[in-house]
Symmetry: C2
Subunit: 303 residues, 2 copies
Amino acid sequence: MTISTPTLSLQDWLNQCSKQVDAALDTLLPPPTLAPEKLHSAMRYATCNGGKRLRPALVFAAGEMVGANPADLMFVACAVELIHAYSLVHDDLPCMDNDTLRRGKPTVHVQFDEATALLVGDALQTLAFDVLTHPSIQINTSIRLDMIRLLARASGSQGMAGGQAIDLESTGKRLDQTSLAQMHNLKTGALLRASIMLGVLCGGMLDVNTLATIDAFSHTIGLAFQVADDILDATASTATLGKTAGKDAAQDKATYVSLLGLAQAQSYAQTLLTTANTHLAQLGPQNTLRLQQLAELIVNRSS
Amino acid sequence: MTISTPTLSLQDWLNQCSKQVDAALDTLLPPPTLAPEKLHSAMRYATCNGGKRLRPALVFAAGEMVGANPADLMFVACAVELIHAYSLVHDDLPCMDNDTLRRGKPTVHVQFDEATALLVGDALQTLAFDVLTHPSIQINTSIRLDMIRLLARASGSQGMAGGQAIDLESTGKRLDQTSLAQMHNLKTGALLRASIMLGVLCGGMLDVNTLATIDAFSHTIGLAFQVADDILDATASTATLGKTAGKDAAQDKATYVSLLGLAQAQSYAQTLLTTANTHLAQLGPQNTLRLQQLAELIVNRSS
């Protein structure tokens, strides 16, 4: 499991990451032939589906910067991706976003059924924490406990799940920009930030100032990710996104586009990218190339 | 947080356990005044509801047997109870058992709404793993990782969630006794067994033979719990149970009562109790009083 090849183009590096994450997830997910077969098949359907693996890429990029062991990074990348996959399955459920399309395919509750989708999300979350306890991981056990806590905090009621709860409550309300940022900071930002911080922790403990700078960078690209997401929802087609486009406007959700207008939202995304790069520059001689490239990708992606 | 008081009657000891677990959960759950308030209120509604706290009692009983630190046991007891609480919230959802009553009160999705109930379950599961990483826990970090893995395995697709999946698939089918036992072994048995094993691990590592005997005991009472549950569902009233009675027959679910008949099921429960006591007797001079009392309670409870 070698990830670090500095000469690769970003696209080749991302393809390599995805391929290796897909292979690792294939090993970590229970085989579809093991009982309960339907649940195990559905867990794979939800996870092994051509996802972009952006969060794993952030884990690798941050981990490479601090010279972490690639094999350790792979477990952590898979744990983060499992949390992300669980959240998508539950978010798509009829009682939540009621979405039927994800990455160009029927969502889990459409392909299987609602009860199975509920259990798939539950079991993928459990597996994420299981993976972080894997006996092959070489990271110091005390740091490992910190990492499990960090992932839990980023995912729970004061992280991702909490952001989703605020999103639900605010549908149809006119949020101001501060409230919108707070909501997204939890809903999508928390797990993106955790991906970077977990990658960094794989390399051991860093000094407080460096950690704070990395966290400021993570916070900024977490926000930039959401601004770009809102722009894409308003401008891209369902075919390009692989999920239902125009959903935010249809559901009368507050977005950066509804709040600022399209042109202002696009300009805000570029400003955030500049800020993110300023943070990276403060890290001095560290190898921040991949993080820089990922920040740009997050803002300027087309799907 | 002192739990060990050998002179207390079982009922007083259980009351003391419940009270202390309730107080600890109150500290560990986010305050209802913290955003997102609705989610945090609903998490408390789902958890602080007069539950019997049987799994925490098993953690304490097993932990006392091996002289574990009561403060450590409390965190572990809360983690197990949080997993149990999450599973009840999700099991009650319309797409699953569609139940409206739990412990004599409206279920979470009835009291709040489905989306909130989904997030409550998700966030309670996350909190369970968070709690096991609590910095105040004194247990060796390597054993702690083993404990997190054990809880994850007991809860996930090859444990509790897997049992629920098998239960769903088997509704309306004529299961034989072996398949029924396998299903329950996962659905309810896995977390009961984990409670005992986690309590034991709080005291450090034991020799393989002792662990195997304790596991055999745990396996037996896990099964006995379900046989007793099936008997109660068929014989007790909704008022006594605090949840809808007669549900199994109404949903045409395979149970020990439908399979063996009531009298045979009752006699099977007593046989399992005898077997459980035989296992405990093999532990020799250990203080197994509370485990013995809990085994009897599990079989002969009235709700």
